[in-house]
């Protein structure tokens, strides 16, 4: 079953840079789909289309369709100008490349999304805190100091907090934009193994920070080059037996 269907998506920024050229792909539910390729390929842009975070950027032209399915297979048109984007962002969580914790306590970082949505039941908020920290493999490290400023955590902990924060309001999709680019190998390993657990509950779209990470994590992989999607398929196919010459060169490290 497909969670996200992207059809003929093109996007041009107001400075004239064409960021996505006629991209089409279907992202299956409960998988990790990896968008990889050299910088400037349009991977981050595509992520930010899915939760409409591109609304904050200067996008002049966007065409095509992005559809998000719910559990009853009802599709929402993500690009609909009338869409309730706040509701969309509660269905699609996001983790950024740098761990950006809000200037609040650990606890309040996690409950922020829920509280903004109007949830103020203390019990339910606390449940969400524990559940999301468990899912991000951070609970044991911070359970005794939830009221400390989140900025006191180490970089790796902060990034797992950001992951937990996006899980706290139980979205359907999680977008991760190079979530481990600033982390040490141990923290990276923790995040990657969390993702393997999380895909049972969520649909994950990941922009990895290296080809190796792409190969380790991908159920499905899409190779992006200068705004074009060159190739898309199951991870084994793409990383072991790619069809396109350019994909092969990139994976083998001949450019990038």
């Amino acid at each position: 079953m497909d969670k996200i269907i992207i059809e003929n998506l093109s996007l041009i920024y107001s400075d004239g840079a064409e960021s996505l050229k006629n991209v089409s792909l279907n992202i299956p539910v409960n998988t990790i789909t990896v968008l990889f390729g050299p910088a400037g390929g349009g991977k981050s842009t595509l992520l930010r289309v899915i939760n409409r975070l591109n609304d904050l950027a200067d996008v002049t032209q966007i065409s095509g369709n992005v559809l998000l399915a719910d559990n009853t297979l009802k599709f929402t048109n993500v690009l609909d100008p009338q869409l309730d984007v706040i509701a969309l962002r509660r269905r699609v969580g996001m983790v950024f490349a740098r761990p950006i914790v809000l200037p609040l306590s650990i606890h309040d970082n996690l409950t922020y999304g829920l509280e903004m949505a109007g949830e103020n039941d203390k019990m339910r908020l606390n449940e969400a805190v524990e559940r999301s920290l468990q899912q991000a493999a951070l609970w044991d490290e911070v359970k005794d100091r939830l009221d400390d400023p989140a900025a006191d955590l180490s970089g790796g902990q902060q990034q797992r907090l950001c992951l937990a924060r996006s899980l706290a309001f139980e979205p359907e999709v999680i977008l991760l934009d190079e979530p481990t680019s600033g982390l040490d190998p141990i923290s990276t390993g923790k995040v990657e193994s969390s993702l393997q657990e999380l895909k049972k509950l969520y649909t994950i779209v990941l922009v990895p920070h290296s080809v190796q990470q792409a190969a380790r994590t991908a159920d499905f992989a899409a190779f992006f080059l200068q705004g074009e999607m060159i190739e898309y398929g199951p991870g084994e196919t793409i990383f072991i037996n790619p069809r396109d010459e350019r994909t092969t060169s990139y994976i083998e490290g001949r450019f990038g």
Partner: protein, 290 residues
Amino acid sequence: MIREFLSKPSSRYSIQRLGFVMLTLIAVITVVPIIAIIVHIFMQGMAAISWEFLTSFPRDGMQAGGIFPAIVGTFFLTLGTAILSIPISIGAAIYLAEYAPDNRWTRAIRIAIINLAGIPSVVYGLFGLGLFVIFLNIGTSIFAGCLTLSIMTLPIFISTSEGALKSVPHSFRVVSISLGATRWQTIRRIVLPQALPGILTGVILGLERAVGETAPILFTAAAFFLPQLPNSPFDPTMALPYHLFVISTQVPGMPIDMQYGTALVLLTFIIGMNILATIIRSRARARRQW
């Protein structure tokens, strides 16, 4: 020749030393007048300071007694100005920093604010006289004085508040929005609390200017001498800067220590506010998390 001279290490070091000495000297020179003024006023004015001076009315054609009504007047003028201008300027700053698109209209607003900051204070005084005292028929009063001082302090408040809001990292806003917060929730919960110390510092520095100004209240609020305290915001009042002007230039035979005593009280007001601003700023910096 010159190149040879410059490339000799020993001469380059002596040039550096010379430059360093010059810069230190210049830095010292800028501090000297401030310290001189404070010390001078303190030495001359300390003799006049007494409980009676601070808490009683002027007597004997102002040549004796105290400056109590002027202290009270300045306090209420400052308070009123703060109450009137803080909400307006924070609102304007939020609009400019968070919502305003970059177009001709908002550029015009910004230019207007910058120009407002450059207008001489006596012009504000005349404007206040024309608009508030006469046209709106408020009369010479604390209220009219506060309105005039508010317009004068608005540009300082708005530009420092806007600066404080813009210094909050953009990434906080992006993250907050990505978590499903609205723009207003983002401002209310994240941006404003982080910017508040900066805003408060600006507000205090702006109010300092309002405390010390004579010209804007000259035609709108201040009285030469009043035998009682104002009863309402619609009464005129005595005020420290104007009182200082009066006893220094308008009253013959004033004891000099009373003039300096008044200046000392005014200066203490301003230095006190400055210290408050510094404390707020340094506390906030210690708490800041980016």
